[in-house]
Symmetry: C2
Subunit: 461 residues, 2 copies
């Protein structure tokens, strides 16, 4: 794919769409402040409660409740940076997060994978590595995600194989799961080695991110609170993302669900800024509705788009970069998967999103990553990347087929999903590993071998 411009650092030129008036945004923010002052947040980590208390929050250790007054929130908001950069091992591939910037990361956290030939199955390290190779091959993916959980690797060693694969197979920015201090420390050390920097330098060099999911309503679990502390201490990027479903664990209205999510995001932000003023924070949102018939989560719906536009407004109200997602509830990479993903993508991008997680591959409400859906999504992301370019840029599609019905039929009448199957196989066949410093690679492998021999680190959940 030869192109006139790379998709390394994208800027979205379009004006964000709104669903709330300025007054409504202020009212929603105030509502969230009221929740944090009145009900408060249940924080399961004693370490986190101590930090909240030392910072001036009202902490009740008997009930684990932390109440945060609005003055403390304001102080912490003032110290959160409005702009920062995620650093890649390849200097030209750094990713800015601010204003109009937009970066794409693939699906993350899925236990399963699926493809046309092998069907749906538990994810393996081989699948994870396939995902990393595909991400490396496509410059519209600037940041990594977990694609799938490599279930064939024992949990205490999994984070070691995952960080090794990210650093060996790509030069993109790795993710790190917040699954306890031991695993996070291992990943940070691997990253420090990969960047060839000192432990001190690492603390001022954002080069990985973690998703912090609050447990709605209004609870911060142990590994999430510890993740905030560890990442903030190390100056690494936190994307604090309450997952709220209107009509399930959150109020049935979008405004109500976003108020709850906003309160939870602020609680996480306060903890991070108390640990280290200036810690880089991304305002994450994942608010949708439940399907009224099945009670299942629904994605790419009108309600989901409204929640995206609204969440973007709340992020801009705080002055923080905003993270959204390309989500669908479809069980296969079919027309529903495509139109729900398009709704999610347009909702995020017209809402002013700066970081799109699950941008490629997400299927089945996040329970699977699909190889073919990954390619379908890449086509969509590349179309947006072209749409963002000023002037005229002829886009050459990777899947879209506009030949005549007769020609298309004569060549097998292949659907877009079937064609996507061919594309990912081509990508894996043509994959080229990034060139890395040999000494660094040896140091990295030695570190991982040592930690593996020591038994790794058990995940905390």
């Amino acid at each position: 794919m030869s192109r006139s411009h790379p998709y390394r650092q994208l800027e979205n030129p379009f004006e964000p769409q709104c669903v709330f008036s300025t007054d409504q945004v202020a009212a929603l923010h105030n509502g969230a402040l009221g929740i944090l002052e009145g009900q408060g947040m249940k924080v399961l980590s004693p370490r986190a409660r101590r930090l909240y208390g030392a910072g001036g929050a009202d902490v009740d250790d008997a009930s684990n409740m932390v109440r945060i007054d609005r003055a403390l929130v304001a102080t912490c908001l003032a110290s959160a940076p409005r702009s920062f950069t995620l650093h890649s091992v390849e200097g030209a591939h750094h990713v800015p997060l601010h204003g109009r910037s937009i970066a794409f990361a693939p699906s993350s956290g899925a236990p399963n994978v699926m493809d046309i030939e092998r069907g749906r199955r538990a994810g393996t390290l081989a699948d994870f590595c396939d995902g990393m190779k595909m991400c490396q091959s496509l410059d519209v993916i600037q940041v990594l995600g977990s694609m799938c959980e490599p279930q064939d690797i024992p949990p205490p060693l999994r984070h070691l194989e995952v960080i090794r694969a990210q650093l060996a197979l790509t030069d993109k920015i790795p993710f790190t799961f917040s699954r306890g201090m031991g695993q996070v420390a291992d990943c940070f050390e691997a990253l420090r080695i990969a960047h060839g920097i000192t432990a001190k330098q690492f603390l001022d060099y954002p080069c990985t991110y973690s998703i912090i999911n609050t447990n709605s309503p209004l609870q911060l679990d142990l590994p999430m609170a510890d993740g905030i502390i560890d990442f903030a201490t190390a100056g690494q990027v936190l994307m604090i993302t309450p997952f709220t479903l209107a009509g399930a664990m959150a109020p049935v209205t979008i405004a109500g669900a976003l108020t709850l999510a906003h309160a939870e995001a602020l609680a996480g932000l306060v903890l991070a800024q108390l640990v280290r003023p200036g810690a880089p924070i991304v305002y994450g949102s994942f608010t949708s509705n439940v399907d009224m018939k099945s009670g299942s989560p629904a994605f790419g719906t009108p309600e989901y788009v409204k929640a995206q536009f609204g969440a973007g407004q709340m992020a801009r109200h705080l002055g923080l970069p905003w993270r959204s997602s390309n989500a669908t509830a479809s069980n296969v990479p079919d027309a529903q998967a495509a139109y729900e993903s398009q709704m999610s993508l347009w909702g995020a991008l017209m809402g002013g999103c700066n970081f799109m997680l699950h941008a490629a591959g997400w299927l089945e409400s996040g329970l699977s990553t699909s190889y073919e859906k990954f390619i379908l999504d890449i086509e969509m992301l590349q179309m947006f990347a072209e749409l963002f370019q000023p002037g005229d840029t002829p886009y050459t599609p990777i899947i879209s087929d506009g030949r005549s019905f007769a020609t298309w039929s004569a060549e097998g009448a292949k659907s877009a999903t079937i064609r996507a199957n061919g594309v990912w196989k081509d990508l894996l066949r043509d994959y080229v590993a990034p060139v890395r410093d040999r000494a660094i690679s040896e140091e990295l492998n030695a570190f991982i071998a040592r930690r593996t021999a020591e038994g790794g680190a058990a995940p905390v959940s």
Copy 2:
């Protein structure tokens, strides 16, 4: 489908997106004026050339060229209404065209139809009637389109069966093709009867529309010019829609292709206003790019979206309602069809479109209408209709399935396209004909019987 609000008269609350600066819009408009003054438009209808000449244009009958100066364009723009209403036989279903209003009409002009069981085949009157019944059953479709060409009806009689079916099977606003004065006169008389109004009243009662396609570059063919004259005379709605492909019959840049399209649209508008100042005009656009590999037209591409945003700006510059399309080049109702349609829909709707032709059913670059694609599109249109509503409105999907993989698999693992097949069959089974005045129906049928006995009217092309 019980809902809290109907989709009869929709308003789009979002701010239109732009690709041009105000200066660029003015420059593009000026460029088009220069084309009309310098190169001029080739007009194949002597009647039209006489009207242009009488209005002050510079006409050369030897070459059929008509050159229009900018003062004449300005006068004609001043008389074109900025707002008007398409009238339905059902008063509650009138459709306004102005500012933020948005109306949806199905695919139009396809020679073929396709569905899963019967495959791709020439359209018949039975298919056309199926299309009308489905449109009648869905309030997100406010205006009709031809769905498919009923090729089993002889061309001189086809318009009679088409207008009969529209008026008998629906209470929505019919389309009328501009295929010569004889056919247009028949359709107008049928419409006059259906509305129970006098011939004089009909002239001030817009109740049908026609698409006028210029023959790019810069040619107005006989039936199109005559259509403009007949519709303007009768006060019926003209949607003047140059079809320009950047890199084919138009310049390779979006701005260049839109300049050409703008000049052609203005030429049509001038003729209409010379015939009758105040004639209702919709600014139509259908500008896209060609696929660089196959040379085929491409739709739902980044270039197509940019052209939509730009065309919307040009329509607003003139103060006219704007028509766009939901287009895809896919040969089947698959993921490509869904993502290209979503690109087209978002491009139109974020661009401020007032009338969306081909909103449901369009496939194969317009060569086929697909029953299943029609239903997939209806799901998308209904999601937009919900997105346009203020506040919270739980949308109940007609196709989207968010149940668990296990439940979905146990019930047959049906793709969205397979489920759409079931939905259109349900719609046709449950179709309820609108109640019509018996005397009017008898008069209408008698008129059509008489004109059929007289041999109808041959189409002009």
